[in-house]
């Protein structure tokens, strides 16, 4: 197995269609052994980037490598250990799930045939493996798509919008499956416009907008690092607001229908502010019912970034 720290590296990767820039000079580094989200709104160029990595379409300019192997020169060797679903998993509907895997295994190394039963069991399709794929639900097709990825015994799985069409239970199962792949040492790249799914499933992510990667890092870093605010529910919101406002860690205090929202200074520790403010409120004789440290979500950050880009444009 390749032990380089990055499984995907791109530099200045660009794709133009009819003069329109779809992927704009993307520099990307995806760390090995993680679940990595490639997050962006519809039309941001996520699928096009994946298609270039898989050799489905040629880049206009830039360089890229998979599993430490430069593309397109060592494409066959690199993709031998990559499993991928692009757009949605597509199969021959007239063939059974097992026959579709047989067909795809034929394009891989001979050992891939021996992985078919294990892959079907892994995704819970053993009982329906001999049914025609035309009778499969969307969720079952997604599972079969994952099974087809496993035929490669992949070091890297690239899944493009894999949660599309799944019900909440299916999404939960899918999330667990992805985490189990990471636990085995595989790297999973998850392209999605679903912020919540990226935040719940991935360790790190890149945010892409209009073809450009505008930010990448761990989920915590992307969400804005440390917590920026506290929320208090007390017996006297007005007095609580006054008490909190004199704390040197606090930047601004507002209260609305019983909730006191305390915005912290950029350098403040949320835990330290929570301790001092709660002590001050209680010592002032105000009952403290709830105190919550509010972390910025990836969604907030994503909307901030993409909104700002929208304004700039």
């Amino acid at each position: 197995m390749n032990t380089d720290s990055s499984v995907v590296e791109t530099e200045g990767l660009t794709k133009r269609f009819d003069g329109k820039v779809v992927v704009d000079s993307v520099d990307l580094r995806i760390p090995r052994g993680s679940a990595f989200g490639y997050l962006g709104p519809n039309g941001a160029g996520k699928t096009t980037l994946i298609r270039m990595l898989l050799g489905l379409t040629e880049p206009t300019s830039g360089s890229m490598s998979l599993l430490g192997r430069p593309l397109p020169r060592e494409r066959a060797a690199a993709l031998a250990r990559v499993g991928a679903i692009v757009d949605e998993p597509r199969f021959h509907g007239h063939m059974t799930g097992r026959q579709n895997l047989l067909m795809l295994a034929a394009a891989r190394e001979p050992a891939a045939h021996g992985r078919i039963d294990g892959a079907l069991a892994r995704v819970g399709l053993s009982g329906r493996a001999d049914d025609a794929v035309s009778q499969y639900s969307m969720g079952m097709r997604q599972r079969l798509g994952i099974a087809s990825c496993l035929l490669a015994d992949p070091e890297l799985l690239i899944l493009d919008e894999p949660m599309n069409g799944l019900d909440p239970a299916g999404m939960l199962e899918f999330r667990e499956l992805i985490r189990s792949f990471v636990d085995e040492g595989r790297t999973v790249v998850l392209s999605s416009h679903l912020l919540d799914e990226i935040e719940r499933t991935c360790d790190a992510a890149a945010i892409v907008d209009r073809g450009r990667v505008v930010m990448q890092g761990s989920i915590t870093e992307l969400a804005g690092g440390q917590a920026r605010s506290l929320r208090l529910v007390t017996s006297d919101p007005t007095r609580s607001s006054v008490i909190a406002s004199v704390d040197p860690l606090v930047e601004q205090v507002t209260h609305d229908s019983g909730d006191v929202l305390v915005a912290l200074r950029p350098e403040a520790s949320a835990e330290r502010a929570a301790a001092t403010i709660s002590r001050s409120v209680i010592e002032a004789g105000v009952d403290l019912y709830e105190l919550e440290i509010e972390h910025a979500s990836l969604e907030q950050r994503f909307l901030e970034i993409t909104s700002r880009l929208g304004v700039a444009a």
């Binding site: 298609r51 489905l56 031998a80 021959h92 047989l102 394009a107 667990e176």
Partner: protein, 276 residues
């Protein structure tokens, strides 16, 4: 969804020897033979058409022996071959067009390309895969036709063994050429239906029309079907409506190779270059 089963991790192995592309060709055959409609239609066009034709002749002979001679014999063998060539061509076109555009229209081509397998090998595997379905049908249909022509000849002259062997080989060549033409065109166009429409029009309308003309004009020799009929055994050609066309062997081979090279080359080029 179970997460208990664990995939065994292995490294790509080069142990053992296998014919290059053999598993891909097997997979192509699997894709085609599991299409029930395609298989039944192709069987009907080849084996079915021969059986129906001789069955009609037999019924006519049995109900009116004086008006209708025995169902077999050389003349009916020729009739059967002409019918089998026309309808068998459609089977070859159906199978070739499906082999050429099936992965693309199902959206599976991108999954195959994503495995890292070269596009050239994906394309080339369609040839043995498709022929593995078509040629057994062609052999069976021809065998049935030849057996019935001999077996039901009665008092009529039977086709000679050499004539039967030559006709059989020529028929397989004809089917292979039509299959390759359809495969190349559909791989190039990416559409099964359009390919079938175009080639059915050429084979069932244009070629017979030009063959039927006494003065077909310049360029008629370049039509694939006409060049292929020029290769048929003399006994078959004598009955065929070939107009005034007479081609040298070199001209026939040139036309045949040119058509195959252009069709297969265009299909291969497009398979390699197209966005998957």
């Amino acid at each position: 969804m179970s997460t208990t089963a664990v995939i065994e991790r292995t490294v790509p192995t080069t142990r053992g020897w296998e014919l290059p592309g053999f598993r891909l060709a097997q997979a192509e055959l699997l894709k085609l033979r599991t299409r029930r409609g395609l298989v039944l239609t192709s069987l009907a066009l080849t084996v079915g058409s021969v059986i129906v034709a001789y069955a009609i002749l037999l019924v006519l002979h049995l109900t009116d022996p004086t008006g209708h001679g025995p169902a077999g014999g050389s003349q009916h063998f020729w009739n059967g071959m002409y019918l089998l060539t026309a309808l068998g061509t459609m089977a070859a076109v159906l199978i070739g067009a499906t082999a050429g555009a099936g992965d693309l229209s199902a959206g599976v081509f991108r999954s195959l390309v994503s495995t890292g397998r070269s596009r050239r090998s994906l394309f080339l595997a369609r040839i043995p895969g498709g022929l593995a379905l078509l040629l057994p049908m062609a052999v069976l249909a021809y065998g049935v036709g030849a057996a019935l022509a001999v077996g039901l000849a009665g008092s009529l002259p039977q086709p000679a063994t050499v004539y039967l062997v030559e006709s059989g080989l020529w028929f397989l060549l004809y089917m292979t050429a039509m299959f390759l033409l359809a495969l190349g065109v559909s791989s190039f166009l990416g559409s099964r239906a359009t390919t079938i429409g175009i080639l059915a029009g050429v084979q069932l309308l244009v070629t017979p029309l030009v063959q039927g003309l006494h003065h077909p004009g310049v360029g008629a020799e370049s039509i694939l079907g006409i060049a292929l009929w020029q290769l048929a055994p003399k006994e078959l050609q004598n009955g065929a409506p070939n107009g005034d066309i007479h081609m040298s062997l070199a001209a026939i081979v040139t036309v045949l190779v040119a058509w195959m090279a252009v069709a297969v080359g265009a299909g291969l080029y497009r398979t390699i270059r197209r966005d998957a």
